[in-house]
């Protein structure tokens, strides 16, 4: 299997470092949380994509938004950089975390009666709603203009992290880590959904996220 170009792309821009990261950590390992572009996503939510023909012997692969093909990622990711530059002014691009489930769990989902399955799909279906995020620098970290962005409800914190880092790329030395905090209190896990953070921690209509190049709240 050939290497996914998305990975190398994200490695160079040191994608989604956890805020909990130690700065000494090698950034290339850090950025290995793969993401897939929204355009790669076809098909419904819970459809498992079986890895080989040995159906129930293998685990199924799926993204949060559905299955996708690897070929598509490769062909589309080449022009990704330009796209991002164009559209990222106020709107943060979608990138879903991939997940993989065990055979036992996938068999169980497959055997659900259609009505129940629809129900489960409906609950876990990513909503198209967008939320507002206000980004504030801490200390000497450069600020962003504009500093208010829209992001899809179901995006993981890692996407936001990657986005801010990309925006700051010019003003920060290469390889700088970035830590992000919610309400100046805690660093959310990279796989946490921003919409859920918004639901619980938003002040007014905005989720206030602060970012810093050093650990700010030990």
């Amino acid at each position: 299997m050939s290497r996914n170009p998305l990975v190398s792309e994200s490695e160079s821009s040191s994608a989604c470092a956890s805020p909990a990261l130690q700065s000494s950590e090698n950034l290339s390992t850090v950025s290995q949380m793969h993401v897939s572009s929204p355009r790669d996503i076809i098909g419904p939510n819970v459809d498992g994509e079986l890895k080989s023909s040995g159906e129930q012997k293998t685990a199924s692969t799926r993204t949060n938004e559905g299955s996708h093909s690897k070929v598509q990622i490769q062909s589309e990711s080449e022009d990704e950089d330009e796209d991002e530059e164009e559209e990222s002014d106020h709107y943060i691009r979608n990138e879903m975390l991939k997940s993989k489930i065990t055979t036992a769990a996938s068999i169980m989902i497959d055997r659900l009666p259609p009505v129940t399955k629809q129900l489960v799909d409906k609950i876990t279906e990513p909503s198209s709603e967008k939320i507002t995020v206000r980004c504030q620098p801490i200390g000497s970290t450069p600020s962003l203009t504009p500093n208010v962005f829209k992001i899809s409800y179901h995006q993981p914190v890692a996407t936001l992290h990657k986005f801010i880092l990309k925006k700051l790329k010019k003003s920060l030395p290469k390889g700088t880590s970035l830590y992000i905090y919610v309400n100046n209190s805690f660093a959310p896990a990279p796989d946490e959904i921003v919409g859920c953070l918004f639901d619980h921690f938003a002040s007014g209509e905005e989720l206030v996220v602060s970012y810093c190049t050093v650990v700010a709240f030990g």
Binding site: V7, S18, I109, R111, P113, F186, A187, A189, D191, F217
Partner: protein
Amino acid sequence: MSEIARKVWEGSINCIVSYRGTECYLRVFRNSYFPLYFQLLSSYFNDEVSFLYTEDDVPVAWNKPIGVLYDLMQGTSPWRLSCGTKADEYPEYILPLTDVESYWCNQMKEACYIHNGNSKQMMSLSRDDSLTFWHSVVTHNQTTWFRMFAKLHLQFKRIPIRLYLNDSKLDKVVQWHGQTLGEAMCELIPELFDMKRWRNNDQVSVVLHGVEPPLQCPVDDLYRECVYVDGFLHLCVIVKPNLSDAESKAEGES
């Protein structure tokens, strides 16, 4: 400390971890993190372990308590796992392994924020206290952990819950007004927990530490007894195919 809290804390899972034909029999605590065992495994296999995966090649996330992973992934007993080392390609489905201590600390701060509306108590712990707190996680010392946990002065206005539905994570917070688990579930996922429709249906179950707590349990009692090491109550909602339906269908066909 109650009997229940003690038993929950001591809940453990038997694992057989294999690496290049060598097997390691390991008993891990449900209420702990896998990376805390990596050092032990690394010295046993004489190689640097950086992730684990299951028999069917699914990488095991490091950032959820082991018990949650086991319940979600429907692990077997013993749970057969294999090791990946630094030399192997790190799986793309799980978060890159980072410092577990700061990850845990931030989860605890988040839990603290949900309870109290700020994380001051967690942030104002003295250096020694924070170290003792983290050390109690590493050594799995319940008495110390609960002593430190009590120092956070949680107000129980809201209960931090992480909810998982089959595989997907739905973060939820319960506003606590003496709610029972059943009521909370009706509020959180009304689609599945409409009491009228699902009352006599065993398709949906809520699993906590591998057991199904009765839906009449008050949520805050559950939290006090069964809180996970990161200050959250991780509830796995498992939707099972209705076996009696499937059986009757099979009978009908035969």
